[in-house]
């Protein structure tokens, strides 16, 4: 296992939490009710905190003196390694919560597996994060059920959100050469091994939410390899990185 591969893997973990954390923070002050606004802001905060740990470690492994902030704010689209799901726009509140649940469910299983990583620092970050993510998935799962099995309008919107986002689920489970090196070194699981647990829990929640999982295995790919991000990421980065682009090295 090379340090390059480990750096790549850590960027994937950190970019997922960074990009989703930023997306979720876009709701701050705009959510339908105050409690939801607070819940979303707290979720975003946890994700940004986790980002600092993942990208902080990535910078150390890379050994070029880049900090978590440098990695977050001074890279462009082609250097990001997040999955396509998390960069998709918020849409309405239901679509945001569906995206959150589809991610949280994977995130929880991934972090549980990483808690037993052969790499002590990866295991420590995962053990810290998993406690926070348990609350995220409880919240997003309850909301998907509440809205799916709600009014005819909320049901229609949640089914539309699931249909829209479903093609982005597969990417989480497709292994590549980085994953192969990670699992061989005992650092991370083969992502394919997480699928059975994910599918079982997903089916339970969607049944309770009276929603139908699309009958398609098609998966958009290219986010975690960085080969082909969707157009949305670049637009998001213009907002997220605005300050450092306009005033490089600005400090408070």
């Amino acid at each position: 296992m090379s340090d390059d591969a480990l750096f790549e893997f850590l960027c994937r973990m950190g970019d997922n939490t960074l990009v989703l954390g930023h997306r979720v923070s876009e709701w701050c002050g705009h959510a339908p009710v105050l409690e939801e606004d607070i819940a979303l802001a707290n979720t975003a905060l946890d994700l940004i905190g986790q980002t600092q740990m993942w990208l902080g470690l990535a910078g150390e492994i890379e050994g070029k003196g880049r900090s978590a902030d440098d990695l977050a704010m001074r890279r462009d689209v082609w250097d990001f390694r997040n999955i396509l799901l998390v960069e998709q726009p918020n849409g309405d509140f239901g679509q945001t919560m569906m995206r959150q649940f589809l991610f949280d469910l994977w995130h929880l299983e991934m972090l549980k597996a990483l808690s037993g990583s052969s790499h002590d620092r990866v295991a420590a970050i995962a053990a810290k994060s998993v406690k926070e993510v348990q609350y995220h998935v409880e919240r997003s799962g309850d909301t998907v059920i509440g809205l799916g099995d709600g009014t005819s309008e909320s049901h229609r919107r949640m089914q539309a959100a699931l249909d829209l986002l479903w093609p982005y689920v597969g990417e989480m489970f497709v292994p590549d050469h980085i994953d192969a090196q990670m699992s061989e070194a005992g650092i991370a699981p083969d992502p394919g091994e997480l699928r059975a647990t994910y599918d079982a829990r997903l089916a339970e929640v969607m049944t309770e939410a009276t929603l139908t999982i699309p009958d398609s295995g098609f998966a958009h790919k290219g986010g975690k390899s960085g080969m082909r991000h969707s157009e949305h990421l670049g637009h998001m980065l213009t907002q997220m990185q605005w300050l450092q682009r306009a005033y490089p090295d600005a400090t408070w």
């Binding site: 409690e35 707290n42 600092q52 295991a123 053990a127 994060s129 926070e132 609350y135």
Partner: protein, 152 residues
């Protein structure tokens, strides 16, 4: 003469949590280790939530408090493993939280009773609250909403 580690612990027990000032950073259970390494005082602090903005302020407050006591050379280490758990809250801290109006954490996953009227007839509003460590609950008897320090 260097102050003893036991004495330093009592000083740290006077440093309030910036968000919940009725409890100290020692009550909160985030100070994990205090020891002298030559003339340097080593202090290990474990963050509550990874994104909690109070964490940096807490380290600064600890450093300031120790400087005020004449300890110039302080090294604060942020230690994430083992991860912080609400099991580390002191009994004294739990009682103070209750008096302050924040229901202390319980393994059962919810508050024992309303911190104001002590009714056990309480319901959850949201898993999340005004800070990362709290959830919002409501008392069905006195009808007041209240914070619950959530269990992690």
């Amino acid at each position: 003469m260097k102050p003893s580690v036991a004495e330093i612990w009592t000083w740290l027990d006077e440093v309030p949590d910036p968000e919940i000032p009725v409890i100290s950073v020692v009550d909160l259970g985030i100070v994990r280790h205090v020891a002298w390494d030559g003339d340097t005082l080593e202090v290990a602090v474990t963050p509550t939530y990874s994104g909690c903005p109070a964490t940096r302020i807490i380290s600064l407050d600890i450093e300031t408090a120790l400087h005020d006591r004449g300890i110039g050379d302080v090294h604060i280490e942020t230690r994430i493993s083992p991860p912080w758990t609400t099991d580390w809250l002191s009994e004294k801290g739990r009682a103070k939280l209750m008096d302050y109006g924040i229901a202390p954490p319980r393994a059962a996953g919810g508050p024992e009773c309303c911190p104001r009227c002590k009714s056990t007839n309480v319901t959850r509003i949201s898993q999340f609250g005004s800070t990362p460590c709290k959830a919002q609950w409501r008392c069905a008897d006195c009808l007041e909403p209240f914070d619950y320090f959530k269990c992690i």
